[in-house]
């Protein structure tokens, strides 16, 4: 296998994953989705590091295991980060009831104009889908009103 091509391909995939996480973090407003995007950026960096480690291993370099060591510490830090962020998000959601990061814009700098949504788009019918589990066992009787979409479960 051409090891330099392998390195190039892995660096490209890592860059794409990082950029996707960056876009999501800048654009999405749900606190949880923003956090998932930060994790995706970490994954992009990890893919690049593994690619570098493999390349240096194929060249017989002494520090070839360094890439994998760094990824182990990335996973550790990501686990800490997830724990802290979960607690933080739960606390914020308990205070104001929503996961919208715009509801914390009270913290902005003095003199900055508030961000106001101009127009909230309607929820489309095709978006009203929920993840479903595969049915197991006997199916209980379901009334017709339970089968329609419930906006507030």
């Amino acid at each position: 296998m051409n090891e330099v091509s392998l390195l190039y391909n892995f660096l490209a995939v890592g860059a794409i994953l990082f950029a996707l996480g960056l876009v999501g973090f800048l654009v999405r407003r749900n606190l949880i989705v923003m956090f998932l995007c930060a994790e995706l950026m970490l994954q992009g960096v990890a893919v690049s590091l593994i690619g570098f480690g493999r390349y240096h291993g194929s060249q017989g370099a002494a520090g070839a295991w360094g890439g994998q060591m760094l990824v182990i510490f990335i996973i550790t830090v990501a686990a800490c980060e997830a724990g802290i962020a979960m607690a933080l998000i739960l606390m914020l959601a308990r205070r104001c009831g929503v996961l919208d990061s715009a509801s914390w814009q009270e913290l902005r700098e003095e003199g900055q104009p508030a961000y106001v949504d101009l127009q909230v788009p309607e929820e489309r019918v095709e978006d009203r889908v929920w993840p479903q589990l595969t049915p197991a066992g006997i199916r209980p009787k379901v009334g017709p009103e339970s089968e329609v979409h419930r906006p507030r479960v």
Binding site: M1, N2, V4, S5, L6, L7, Y8, N9, F10, L11, A12, V13, A15, I16, L17, A19, L20, L22, V23, L26, V27, I32, V33, F35, L36, E39, L40, Q43, A46, I50, G51, R54, G57, Q59, G60, A64, W65, Q68, M69, V71, I72, I75, A78, A82, G83, I84, M86, A87, L88, M91, D100, Y115, D117, V120, P121, D127, R128, P151, R152, V153
Partner: protein
């Protein structure tokens, strides 16, 4: 070292490069896929992203073996497709599930590159623990399902700027990898390939049989201080998370006193 400005390509070269067009169509497709009021956004955006992925893959250097190439493209497709679907889906639950799929792709890429322990650890720690915790928090914090702010972004201009920034970021990174790509075009001698295989399969190589033993030896000899620090960090994070959730609640003795009263 050549100055950066002198190394910049002419605009004719840029227009002839498939990666440039891949990034342009990809940015447009991603812009359409993100939460928007535009009706046809989803199908058209996915189509544009597929075209962009094809162009980008066309410009990547080949690995040399068709089996390896196919496996790599499949894993990269799963990882990147999961990431795109994660930032494009309206429901945070779907986002978390797509992120788990993307993690499966990256874990496969780790396995592909000989990082067996890390591939399994990614599935166990990320997909098994972090994503499930995310799902719990979504259920606790947002029980009413779909919300308006999942269908909104920060407005038109920030969305365009975000997408353009991502395209430019990938463009700059691949541009500075240009010399590496020139390296891949040189024909490889059989000795170089055999030497790389020997290096990888040596007793301390990345693809050696005793992978976890080697990893553990390096981890507990060269990185001993770092691993102690990482353990301390985990402990501090645990204490911090509990303290954050407990903050503001009355103390246990006070609660018992109130209950007895």
């Amino acid at each position: 070292m050549t100055p950066i400005l002198a190394a910049l390509p002419q605009w004719q070269e840029v227009l002839r490069c498939p990666t440039f067009w891949a990034l342009a169509t990809g940015a447009l497709g991603l812009w359409m896929l993100l939460p928007t009021r535009f009706r046809l956004g989803r199908s058209l955006g996915s189509l544009l992203l597929a075209v962009a992925g094809g162009l980008f893959a066309y410009d990547l250097p080949l690995l040399g073996l068709w089996v390896d190439q196919g496996v790599f493209w499949l894993l990269a497709l799963v990882a990147i497709g999961g990431g795109v679907a994660m930032i494009a889906s309206r429901s945070p639950i779907y986002s978390a599930i797509w992120f788990a799929l993307s993690l499966l792709g990256t874990a496969g890429l780790f396995l592909f590159n000989g990082a067996e322990f890390l591939g399994v650890a990614t599935i166990v720690v990320y997909a098994g623990a972090i994503v499930v915790t995310f799902l719990f928090v979504i259920m606790l914090a947002q029980p009413e399902g779909h919300t308006a702010y999942d269908r909104l972004t920060w407005g038109g201009l920030p969305k365009v700027l975000g997408v353009v920034t991502a395209g430019l970021l990938i463009g700059v990174l691949t541009f500075f990898l240009g010399r590496l790509k020139d390296e891949t075009k040189k024909p490889l001698s059989a000795e170089a390939i055999a030497q790389a295989q020997t290096n990888l399969l040596a007793s301390d190589g990345i693809l050696a049989e005793k992978h976890v033993a080697n990893l553990g030896r390096h981890l507990f000899s060269e990185q001993l201080v770092s691993i102690e620090l990482a353990g301390t960090l985990l402990l501090v994070a645990l204490v911090g998370a509990i303290a954050m959730v407990m903050h503001g609640r009355p103390r246990l003795a006070q609660r018992i006193e109130e209950a007895l009263r």
